[in-house]
Amino acid sequence: MRIQVSCFATLSRYAPTDGFLEIKEGATPIDVIDQLSIPREEVKIVFVNGQNSGKEIELQEDDRVGIFPAIGGG
């Protein structure tokens, strides 16, 4: 199934070129991180459809996943 994936800041170089990724049924954000070869320790926050649902939630078709390193500002 296909999901939408964006990677930001220092992780942007790992983003799929067209912004979409084919994943297996039952895959989680951790699987996506591994599939994109992002070092796990560099990932601080994962949003699924705009919510911080954790890295182990089962993803669904057309989900929107955002992957971030540690970020601050304000």
């Binding site: 964006s6 930001f8 800041a9 220092t10 942007s12 601080k44 926050i45 949003f47 459809n49 705009g50 919510q51 911080n52 955002g66 971030f68 390193p69 540690a70 970020i71 601050g72 500002g73 304000g74």
Partner: protein, 579 residues
């Protein structure tokens, strides 16, 4: 001995006082709020002779401890009518501290028609002088003239045309280490308070002064070393902020669905990536600007930058997330150069960028400007230069005033101060802060975005109610204490995640002053400050009914999460300390 410098703007008397009695041991926001509480009648008109403008470096400013060069500016706010502390960077604070001046108090008010004056402070004393050629100038030209006259090593605090004409959205600008007046005490219209005292600028030359000694030099050195490690080792203060500046937030706040778009109609902007920190850094590098710099000497975090225009010429610095939001997604403007020009204009006119962005949104709501039109927004903002331009006068007076002038009913303010760059419906912790801080709509006073979105210092659901009152309350106490020290608020990212950080701060204060200051005393300091502030507001006529968000947040769902604001005014009272 630490001293206060009291300046009467009417009879020009200037007197040094020792920092004793109720002011002993105070710094930064602790001092500004205590002076306002004790010396300013809460019900006074903010532009009257009874109001005072107080400027205070923090307790640790002027020391070698990293990120301690911030400054508090206080008074009764011309914008909100509440007590106000506005916090700024720049070189001014460390120069005051080097001269062991813990506070400036500007008092009284010259007769109508009196000329503007400049206060000059050096090791020989202080005097008020007239420099007619800088009156009416923008802060860039005015500070360039002042550097010519007093030398390039001075620090400058200056208002622009907006402050001179007592516009309610006006800021006070401070020169940065490169001499650019791009650092602002932006919020609350304190530029109008300075303008009402007929003070155009304060220039400080600390050459020849001997900085105060640390009470226990070795202990201070050890604590300062550990403090620097804490900041360098944290991924936000050590890597994220230095690499991309504060606009790194655009993408994550957008992804979280809480980036206010088109005057708080949506939490997502389809062109967010065009105005992101990543994009800004790309432009800066391409145009040979500077991607990382500090607002004061001794800053490790380096979140500032010098942004050049497309010809490679300097345009602006201190170009922050809140500003990019205010003129960007808030107005549907996606051209980052237009946003940079609006930032430059605000710094030069001496206007708060957050307040001015939301003011332009009112102009768009009223049909005076088309949504998304950066060039027309620039044209309109330039009209603030001319004191006789009535539309410029309206715009310079901020969001609430402009909305009233044009009959707009979608007005994102609390206590007449505009809300900043996080929609409170989908970041409820910071929404609690907006509603309850003594400052009026303000995010820095209790930045629960840390726990709601960034997962720093905890993890609290931004869409639900649980835990958000408590976190806002605790952050408001901690922030007040941080603002008393002279620390940049961004140290909080590292402090919240590091076990020995509070002990380290306590050791810095103990060894600086030779007294026993503990981690518990930090919280006590914050509570004392909030007591001064809340009690001032109470006596100025503010009640629980003022501690609520505008009703459109309660009545309208925010996409994409389709959430409303659902705290009652009664529930919100629990976020305030008892006075």
């Amino acid at each position: 001995m630490a001293k206060l410098l009291r300046i009467n703007s009417k009879n020009k008397k200037i007197a040094y006082e020792e920092l004793t009695g109720p002011y002993a041991g105070l710094g930064g926001r602790g001092l500004t709020s205590r002076v306002v509480r004790r010396e300013v009648p809460p019900a006074c008109h903010p532009l009257s002779a009874q109001n005072k403008l107080i400027v205070a470096p923090g307790l640790l400013t002027g020391t070698t401890a990293a990120n301690t060069g911030r400054l508090s500016v206080g008074g009764k706010s011309p914008l909100t009518g509440t007590i106000k502390e506005s916090n700024a960077g720049g070189t001014f604070s460390q120069k005051l501290a080097k001269m062991d001046i813990m506070g400036l108090i500007l008092e009284d008010k010259p007769d109508p028609g009196s000329p503007f004056q400049t206060l000059f402070i050096n090791k020989d004393g202080a005097e008020l002088i007239e420099i007619p050629e800088i009156t009416g100038l923008g802060t860039y030209d005015a500070s360039a003239r002042l550097f010519e006259k007093f030398g390039t090593k001075v620090g400058i605090m200056v208002i622009g045309p907006a402050g001179e004409n007592t516009r309610l959205a006006s800021s006070i600008q401070f020169t940065d280490p490169r001499g650019k007046p791009s650092r602002a005490a932006g919020r609350g219209g304190l530029g109008a308070l300075m303008g009402s005292k007929k003070i155009k600028a304060i220039v400080i030359d600390s050459e020849g002064s001997k900085a105060p000694e640390m009470a226990d030099r070795e202990a201070f050195k050890a604590a300062a070393k550990r403090w620097a490690e804490i900041l360098v080792n944290h991924p936000v203060t050590g890597q994220g902020l230095p690499s991309y500046g504060t606009s790194i937030l655009i993408n994550i706040i957008n992804e979280a669905g809480t980036l206010p778009t088109k005057n708080f109609r949506s939490g997502r902007f389809d062109k967010a990536s065009d105005i992101s920190g990543e994009k800004m850094v790309e432009f800066i590098n391409k145009r040979k600007g500077i991607a990382r710099e500090g607002c004061h000497a001794g800053c490790i975090i380096q979140c500032s930058q010098s942004y050049n225009d497309e010809n490679g010429e300097y345009l602006t610095s201190g170009f922050e997330y809140e500003t990019v939001w205010a003129f960007g997604s808030n107005l549907l403007i996606s051209d980052i150069d237009h946003i940079a020009m609006l930032d430059r204009l605000c710094d030069d006119l001496g206007l708060d960028t957050i307040e001015t962005g939301t003011t332009l949104a009112m102009a768009m709501e009223a049909g005076i400007l088309p949504w998304g039109d950066g060039l027309k927004a620039i044209e309109l903002l330039k009209r603030v230069h001319d004191p006789k331009d009535y539309l410029g006068a309206i715009i310079g007076n901020g969001t609430s005033f402009t909305a009233e002038a044009f009959g707009v009913d979608r007005v994102p303010v609390v206590k007449k101060q505009s809300l900043p760059a996080y929609d409170p419906r989908a970041a409820k912790g910071v929404g609690v802060t907006y509603a309850t801080t003594p400052m009026g709509g303000d995010h820095t006073a209790g930045y629960a975005i840390c726990q709601n979105i960034l997962k720093v210092g905890g993890d609290i659901d931004p869409l639900g109610k649980e835990g958000n009152i408590e976190i806002s309350k605790n952050l408001q106490i901690a922030t007040a204490a941080v603002d008393a020290t002279g620390f940049c608020l961004f140290v909080a990212f590292a402090v919240l995640d590091t076990d020995d950080s509070l002990d380290t701060i306590a050791k810095l204060i103990s060894s600086r002053f030779g007294k026993n200051f503990t981690a518990e005393d930090i919280a006590k300091t914050g509570i004392e400050i909030l007591k001064d502030e809340y009690s001032f507001n109470r006596d100025a006529g503010f009640t629980a009914a003022h501690d609520q968000l505008p009703d459109f947040f309660i009545n309208e769902e925010l996409p994409p999460h389709n959430v409303k604001w659902d705290f009652t005014a009664e529930e919100l009272q629990k976020a305030k300390i008892e006075i």
